[in-house]
Amino acid sequence: MARGKAKDGDGNWKKFIWNSEKKELLGRTGGSWFKILLFYVIFYGCLAGIFIGTIQVMLLTVSEFEPKYQDRVAPPGLTQVPQVQKTEIAFTASDPKSYEPYVKNLEKFLRDYSAEQQTENIVFQDCGDTPSEYKERGPYNDIQGQKKVCKFKREWLENCSGLNDPYFGYKDGKPCILVKLNRIIGFKPQAPVNESLPPEVMAKYNPNLIPVHCFAKREEDADKIGTVEYYGMGGYPGFGLQYYPYYGKLLQPRYLQPLVAVQFTNLTYDMEVRVECKAYGQNIVYSDKDRFQGRFDIKFDIKSS
């Protein structure tokens, strides 16, 4: 009996897909399919309308100039250029191919910082060569039009500016990286309190400076990291406060975030050297979970041949 049933089932299955007697495809006639499809077109049409409508209403409640909440994005992250996979910069000084991506990445990044890009005086403002106070530019809306942006001179980056050395030191095994603090609208980093700083940073202390410092991540690497050169605005290894606060993409479309170039001139070759760079400030914090908050670490692996 069971076998008979199974046979029956097979027949039904084929019949279900195409029933030639009733002209039914998958249990429905053409007309029936048309009706049901029409229903779903209307139904989903309405739903799509409702969806788009509610999204539009929601967007009305959101300002176009600043986000409603920033609790997930602040405090800011600290990142480097070139952007690398697995936080590792590995190359052979004698092989241009091996460092080409880094160089290109740096070159591309610095294009906006060239002097010829900062000529329009309507957009750019000279904020001086030394760190100074925050530059408040009024409320976060476009009533006064777009906001001005502080110039950042590429020359300040000296050896790492790519102006003199198009290979950013990689050719000589003295790689440059650029350090920048993530942009956050309205965020005003506060200069650090003296006591908390390592002595090297203390030496170049300025009350309007967010200093950056790179050092060996591991104790045993301390002697392998060699000399570290910092190039920043006016020779300061840090970010001047006059670049803050950031007013957002809409009001400062050509905002230049301040940079610090770090050059490792005497790295030990043929081994992994782990470096940590940190920005210091009262409202710059570090987290165990987010290894890019206020600091980052990067590995150098320079091969001699």
Partner: protein
């Protein structure tokens, strides 16, 4: 004969006394095994457990877990940071399977245990002769060759050949279905062991007398043992609900696999890595499988089982709960199930008139006209000519509940007179009995002579009762209104009419007469001698007739009419006489007042039975003998053509044939039974119902359900519960399936539109196994929408638990609405954090890249990877919360399928509110309390709880409109496509 067998008995006893010591018995016991039926082979526990581990959706989840571990292995080898997420996910999935498996196993074990308690009844004892001593031994210690003694009331401990009997009668009904006790002797009367008189069978009972016998078969080798093994040969059919759930599992698994594979192909062709595609596949499987549902179904069924147990239906197999609801034919026993299982006086005839007596279970008075002096005379005979007595010490019990020593008819008469006259024993004491002739089959009457309670009347009163025609033969006068009148042919004719009428109602009729013995012939000192009968036994005065029947239980007619309106055919199957069977069938409504059998029509039209158009007869009374000669086709025809059927004089073996016949009609058949040899029929039936009081262990073992009060009406309550749970399971499944789409859509859109992942796999499990569990069980408490006993039983093939409409409506309409609501919340969270919807499209690769820690949002702000992940988790929480909120609306709309919620009442089912509060409570706990560092559900402002509320309201309103249109336009396109 007696003396010869006694000698034989003594001889044999001597042999055994000398030759059958304990040691020999022990040897045989070791060889043959204990004298007990081997219980039906139980599936080993481990197999049962493993079955739970791979049944249902478990396979899919195991596949998911396996994929998780594979991708963990690969990612670990590749050194991916997040590899361990997959390991954990696999572990969680495996845990889900194992925990739900353990749960299901536990549930099943629990319901099996209820039954196990039945079989653990007090061990039977047997009186055995061993080592020249009479010993009480547990019956399972008996061996072939043992000599056992039995007496009235004992259960026969093994198959025994009798070597000595004294007035021994056995009740073989559990074996042959014959309800009349059969006498047993030492004589070999027939070749067939079942027919011969000198064998008594295991598990039958000795009703009266004593006997001694030699054990000839023990344990499984007994006749009963062979039948029992036959019963276990009848395959267990899959229950309808098991088929439905299987169908549903296939459906959901089919959807899961096809969507999974489809999107695997899509993602591979969209240049996703194979590994990523596999991870998507896991997500899709997890989203599609309602992990908690099977557990929910089990809980709902066991809740109903509990409710049914309260109403005296003890369900052995959880799935039987629903089977009862889909029952379309009930084959019911008569005695004890439809009837009260006790003789009761139903009619009286005196003064040329028939009076009806109250036959209800709890009668305390009788309301027929008792003013006639004839009644006074009749009541005196009834009271005095009766040997039955109440057991002492029951004065506080209602009369109908008191235990009586005496046979069924005498018990009926005793209770009848006690109800009307009060203290019968006192009346008897005042009318002292001086002589008595008990009933015997040659005389067919019972007689006693009493002093009267009137101190001035010194006459003796002779009272007699017996077969009416025999009594009438002995009478020359008849009492009419208290006066003796000569019994002429006209009066005799009246008697005949009354006798036929009462007999035609299937009642057992007794005639009563009396005679005041003349004082001069029988002075006070007269010595009556019952052997020589020195007193008149003819020319008596006929007083009246009393008829008795085992009356239907008072709740049964109602229950039968409920069955009728519920489209359930009730077939009576009884071993009783056709006339009695038909009478009871008529009185309970199994045969309705207006319908006729072929024989009725023949009688009415005065034509031979053969000429009657069989189609005109709606009812049929089929005799067991006719059934024996019928072919399967003829039986089918009877079952098809007649709406009202009674099978009389059937043997329990024929019950199996009837059940099979009904099942050939495509019916879901419920069968009641109590005897051992009912077990094959009970097993064969879709739902076997054993009697809790009268039922044998074998019947209870074979049955799916035990009726604790043996009452047919309880079956009907069970049917109602079964139908309700079917409806409610539909609601539960619809509720559960809906959110699967809301869990699935995120994956699909994530793959296609490359947006950040809206919901995590673990978060899905929070819904499936956390917030949704209690609400879906709560739907099991929902009251019926309309009178479920007013519609036909569901058609096994057409009315599926999960039909196309249910799946489509849940998946493609409500599910999609939920997804839209959840996505609105998702986009709101991201927009308010800086990512406007337009920036989210196509960002997946960069978003998930560990190397990019300055990911730009719509405002130009830059995000580290961790900040993005944390935002993503916040999105999970918001999505989770939105689904939960909308599931509240889903829960409310699922309360009804057709009626407006407002008609059903929002607050009638309080458990739904428990469900809603638990749902929200669990969600609150998950999001606000349980926030350990790595928990992917970081809390976020409470406002996100409300984003989806408009969509929840939309779902409710839309469903109300759907129901309104269904009610307004029955049979319309809308009704056909939207009613599930």
């Amino acid at each position: 004969g007696k003396s010869r067998s006694e000698k034989l008995h003594l001889k044999q006893r001597q042999i055994f006394i000398s030759e059958f010591p304990d040691a020999r018995a022990a040897e045989i016991l070791a060889r043959d095994g204990p004298n007990a039926l081997t219980p039906p082979k139980a599936t080993p526990e481990i197999v049962k457990f493993l079955k739970q581990m791979i049944g249902g959706f478990s396979i899919l989840l195991w596949i998911g877990a396996a994929f998780s571990w594979i991708s963990f292995g690969i990612q670990l080898a590749q050194g991916v940071d997040s590899a361990f997420d997959n390991l954990y996910l696999g572990v969680v999935l495996a845990l889900v399977v194992i925990l739900t498996g353990i749960f299901a196993y536990y549930q099943e074990a629990k319901s099996t245990n209820i039954m196990a308690s039945f079989s653990k009844m007090i061990p039977q004892q047997a009186l055995v002769l061993r080592d020249a001593e009479k010993k009480e031994l547990p019956a399972d210690q008996l061996v072939v060759g043992d000599i056992v003694e039995i007496k009235g009331g004992d259960r026969i401990p093994a198959d025994i050949r009798l070597i000595f009997t004294q007035g021994c009668k056995v009740d073989n009904s559990s074996l042959t279905g014959e309800s009349e006790p059969q006498s047993r002797s030492c004589d070999f009367t027939h070749e067939n062991p079942l027919e011969t008189r000198n064998i008594a069978f295991y598990s039958t009972t000795c009703v009266e007398g004593t006997a001694t016998g030699i054990v000839i078969n023990t344990g499984d080798r007994t006749i009963i043992g062979r039948i029992a093994s036959l019963a276990s040969g009848v395959g267990n059919e899959k229950t309808p609900i098991a088929i439905e759930i299987e169908h549903f599992v296939y459906l959901v698994a089919g959807v899961a696999i096809s969507i999974g594979v489809l999107f695997f192909i899509i993602s591979v062709s969209m240049r996703y890595k194979i590994l990523d595609s596999i991870i998507f596949l896991i997500g899709i499987i997890v989203a599609n499988v309602p992990e908690g549902l099977l557990a929910t179904v089990t809980v709902s069924l066991s809740l109903t089982a509990k409710r049914m147990a309260k109403k005296n239906c003890l369900v052995k197999n959880l799935e039987a709960v629903e089977t009862l609801g889909s029952t379309s034919i009930i084959c019911s026993d008569k005695t004890g199930t439809l009837t009260q299982n006790r003789m009761t006086v139903a009619h009286l005839w005196f003064d040329n008139q028939i009076y009806s007596a109250d036959t209800s279970e709890d009668q305390t008075t009788q309301s027929f006209d008792q003013s006639s002096p004839s009644w006074a005379a009749l009541s005196k005979i009834v009271t005095l000519c009766n040997r039955a007595e109440f057991r002492p010490g029951q004065e506080n019990l209602p009369i109908m509940k008191r235990v009586v020593v005496g046979d069924a008819s005498e018990t009926a008469l005793l209770k009848f007179s006690e109800v009307i006259l009060g203290d019968v024993m006192n009346i008897r004491a005042q009318n002292k009995k001086v002589a008595e002739i008990p009933f015997n089959s040659t005389n067919k009457f019972q007689l006693s002579i009493h002093e009267t309670d009137d101190p001035h009347d010194k006459r003796f009163l002779l009272v007699m009762k017996g077969a009416p025609e025999r009594i009438l033969e002995r009478c020359s006068t008849i009492m009419i209104n208290g006066k003796e009148e000569p019994l002429d042919s006209e009066k005799a004719e009246a008697f005949q009419t009354a006798y036929m009428e009462l007999g035609g109602m299937g009642e057992r009729v007794l005639g009563f007469c009396h005679l005041y013995l003349p004082e001069n012939e029988f002075p006070e000192t007269f010595q009556f001698d019952t052997d020589s009968m020195n007193f008149p036994t003819s020319n008596l005065c006929f007083v009246g007739l009393l008829s008795m029947i085992d009356p239907p239980r008072s709740t049964v007619p109602d229950a039968v009419s409920k069955c009728r309106s519920a489209g359930i055919k009730v077939i009576m199957v009884t071993g009783d006489h056709p006339i009695t069977a038909k009478a009871i069938a008529k009185s309970v409504g199994i045969i309705s007042a207006t319908s006729e059998t072929v024989e009725d029509i023949a009688k009415r039209l005065n034509i031979p039975v053969e000429q009657v158009n069989r189609r005109e007869a709606t009812a049929a009374v089929v005799n067991g003998m006719e059934l024996k000669e019928m072919s399967a086709e003829q039986l089918d025809e009877i079952l098809r053509e007649h709406a009202e059927i009674v099978f009389a004089r059937t043997s329990p073996q024929q019950k199996l044939i009837i059940v099979e016949g009904c099942q050939r009609q495509g019916a879901v058949v419920a069968v009641t039974g109590d005897g051992v040899n009912d077990s094959p029929a009970l097993k064969k039936a879709d739902i076997g119902i054993a009697m809790g009081i009268a039922g044998s262990d074998a019947a209870k073992n074979a049955a799916d359900m035990v009726l604790l009060d043996d009452n047919f009406a309880s079956i009907v309550t069970g049917v109602e519960e079964g139908r309700l749970i079917f409806d409610n399971l539909k609601k539960t499944i619809a509720y559960t399936l809906t959110k699967n789409i809301a869990e699935l859509c995120p994956f699909l859109i994530y793959i296609i539109a490359s947006i950040p992942m809206p919901i995590g796999t673990i978060t899905i499990l929070f819904i499936d196994l956390g917030t949704d569990i209690i609400p879906s069980v709560a739907l099991a408490y929902e009251k019926a929408e309309s009178d479920i006993m007013n519609r036909r039983p569901r058609n096994k093939r057409r009315d599926r638990l999960v039909n196309e409409q249910l799946a489509v409506y849940s998946y493609l309409q409500i599910g999609i609405m939920q997804s839209v609501g959840a996505f609105v919340t998702y986009f709101t969270v991201y927009a308010e954090q800086g990512f406007l919807p337009s920036t989210l499209l196509g960002v997946r690769v960069d978003w998930e890249s560990n190397a990019i820690n300055d990911f730009e949002d719509s405002y130009g702000q830059q995000w580290t990877k961790y900040q993005r992940t944390y935002l993503q988790w916040t999105g999970y929480t918001a999505f989770f919360v939105s689904i939960t909120i909308q599931q509240v609306a889903d829960l409310i709309i699922r309360k009804t399928r057709r009626n407006s919620i407002f008609r059903q009442g929002l607050f009638r089912n309080k458990v739904i509110w428990v469900g809603i509060f638990s749902q929200i409570g669990i969600a609150l706990i998950l999001t606000y309390v349980l926030v350990p560092p790595s928990f992917p559900c970081p809390p976020r402002g409470f406002q996100y709880w409300f984003v989806a509320v408009p969509f929840a309201i939309l779902i409710w309103v839309y469903d109300e409109i759907r129901k309104l249109l269904i009610r307004r336009y029955p049979g319309s396109w809308w009704d056909k496509n939207m009613y599930y």
